[in-house]
Symmetry: C2
């Protein structure tokens, strides 16, 4: 289920009108910035899209240069994965994702240290993007996911071994970029990024382990902890690294880490809601795909844990051998059962609550709403998607 | 075939009498040290064993502390892999390998910077050992190797996903150790170690790719380059990192890198010879195991490239479908054919030549034979094994 976030965050489909508008996010936005002035703010998504495009433009040359140092065997797989080459090695114009994480690094550095800090953090932003892509390469192998960014995944093209090796090489490249960065914040950033990799590994482990559990064996705490490790950790680390490059104190670094984690969890909650009730025309996935796969996504586990009669019914439906294909009616009924057990409301309220917490952390580290605007826009962007 | 080196280098069987004594190694030893004094030197292996035991004692506490910071899911797999826990989590006394690479870091630091530099490089030595173990975890998954250090490999116990994730986490731990090291050499060491990981990945890629090629498609240059990337690179990097912690200039770092690479290649050559002609009672493997698996090891590729009538015969035997089990006679005949085509002589001469080159590089960076003694002992140790 963490996977769906990852896919969505790196999906190249532009966001449309908001399917879900978590109340807390909007309240937070107002609390931090909108009440301060009347101008059209980040909530319309334009500011976020601009920040993402600028982040992409800033880090792509660094990424291309770093990938250019790889031996040809590894370079070929990496360039394919980034969408910059076809499998046969010819150039491709494909998108390499939305650059959410680099944008968070740059926006955090800018929020706390201005344009100079932003400029200084470009290499670190590229390192964070390399780590993200290393995890995508490995997760796709482990999860047997065949499609990524509308293309066949690297393991389906080059085989498991080469996809694993290319992922290993990207992690090394990421940490080499920071080791070679003379900026005084680089060692602390490298230590934080390496620590985050360990957390991402534990998150992916928990995800695969939970998927193997019986529905009644999975607790809400477990699945929230998994989502934080698998999704929140790297968004938080991206923000914390930006703060490090701005030269701020430990308190601000911690607050920005927490901001990114909470926003990441809000994102995952919304993404899981979309995975059940999203419009197939917008998501590009069949309706109820997560239910068909019996994914123990956050709304489902909340529903199972609700102690309601609907929870018992859902548990029975989830436990039943799913060897027969569900038809549309089965999936609709499953979705309705999750909703009746309170899973949808819980997820939306949790997302709102997480966004409110994110806003409080942001306001603590960046009291000036003008300076906080970029981070706010990005946080709203990732939790306001419709696809 | 790189695999067999790795296994042997981490094998806990103590070395016995030398099966092979590459002429160059002995000449090198005499050239650098033995001619200087008459005392019993490293050639008897005692000095090397002492250095290995001291390295193990120095890095184990750092490794245990680093592994102790892992989340429990990853820690369990790592502690199993290191032989410090059984699969059920109870303590185990198993060996975690011979610590050749950490010993090379410490010996290089000591050779160029004395005891203080050695002491300062312990953390870096542990980082090198973590990288080595990360590659073992991943290589075993890719190569489907079921045994490592006389125990079932991690993937056979915990599954592919967890073995891959634990490997990822160990790479991150390695680079975090260096990122957190305040020593002025740490960033350069981290950059070098990360660059080496990329080379190791390319080497493993080449190894798996070459094994899939037809015998007549593989050139000696390719297989030598593969062996250097897969085996020589990390031994060279270990030595170079030791030199960095000694605060020496770039020329000495480069010379020690080259020393380690050449010694590593010599090792691989000898290891491949043992893989064909080694005494099963000593190697613990059935006679001719590498031939039974139709491995394109260095002596085999040299034989195939010899242009002799025996080469053509060997090619035909290697290309024939090996669906029937070879009997002892078949394997003996294959070994004889490699030998008739000059594969054995070539490998032994190459090993001697590589050791001679290693000695020249060592003498360049460490002219004092007393100071060079430790590195020399280790280089001889790894190329003098009988099992």
């Amino acid at each position: 289920m963490g996977e769906s976030l990852t896919e969505s965050l790196t999906d190249s489909t532009p966001p449309g009108a908001a399917l879900l508008r978590p109340v807390g996010a909007r309240a937070g936005r107002q609390g931090v910035a909108r009440q301060q002035d009347g101008r059209p703010g980040p909530a319309d998504g334009h500011e976020a899209e601009l920040l993402l495009a600028r982040a992409r433009a800033a880090v792509d040359p660094v990424l291309r240069e770093a990938l250019g140092t790889l031996p040809s065997s590894m370079r070929r797989i990496a360039l394919y994965h980034f969408g910059w080459q076809h499998a046969d090695g010819t150039p491709a114009a494909g998108g390499s994702g939305k650059a959410i994480r680099p944008a968070l690094v740059l926006a955090s550095a800018a929020a706390l240290g201005g344009p100079e800090a932003r400029e200084a953090s470009v290499r670190a932003a590229a390192a964070v993007e390399l780590v993200h892509n290393f995890t995508l390469l490995h997760d796709d192998v482990m999860d047997r996911d065949a499609t990524r960014r509308h293309r066949p995944t690297a393991w389906t093209v080059f085989g498991d071994t080469d996809a694993i090796l290319a992922g290993d090489a990207l992690q090394a490249l990421a940490l080499r970029l920071l080791a070679e960065d003379p900026h005084p914040a680089a060692p602390a950033a490298a230590a934080r990024l390496a620590g985050c990799v360990v957390e991402l590994c534990a998150g992916q482990h928990a995800d695969t382990a939970l998927e193997r559990c019986r529905p009644d064996e999975v607790t809400l705490d477990q699945v929230l902890a998994m989502a934080e490790a698998k999704t929140g950790a790297l968004l938080g680390t991206a923000c914390a690294i930006g703060a490090l490059y701005a030269g701020t104190g430990e308190a601000d670094v911690t607050a920005l880490d927490a901001f990114g984690r909470e926003a990441g969890l809000a994102f995952q909650l919304i993404d899981d809601v979309i995975g059940i009730w999203g419009d197939p025309d917008r998501t590009g996935k069949p309706a109820g795909a997560d239910l068909a796969a019996r994914k123990k996504s956050l709304p489902v586990v909340a529903a199972l844990a609700s102690g309601t009669p609907a929870a018992a019914e859902l548990a029975a439906l989830y436990e039943a051998p799913s060897d027969k294909e569900d038809d549309a009616e089965d999936l609709e009924y499953l979705a309705l059962t999750v909703e009746r057990a309170g899973g949808r409301d819980w997820a939306q309220n949790q997302a709102a609550d997480r966004m409110a917490r994110a806003m409080r952390q942001l306001a603590r580290a960046v009291p000036d709403p003008e300076a906080a605007g970029g981070l706010l826009a990005l946080a709203e962007y990732v939790t306001r998607r419709s696809s």
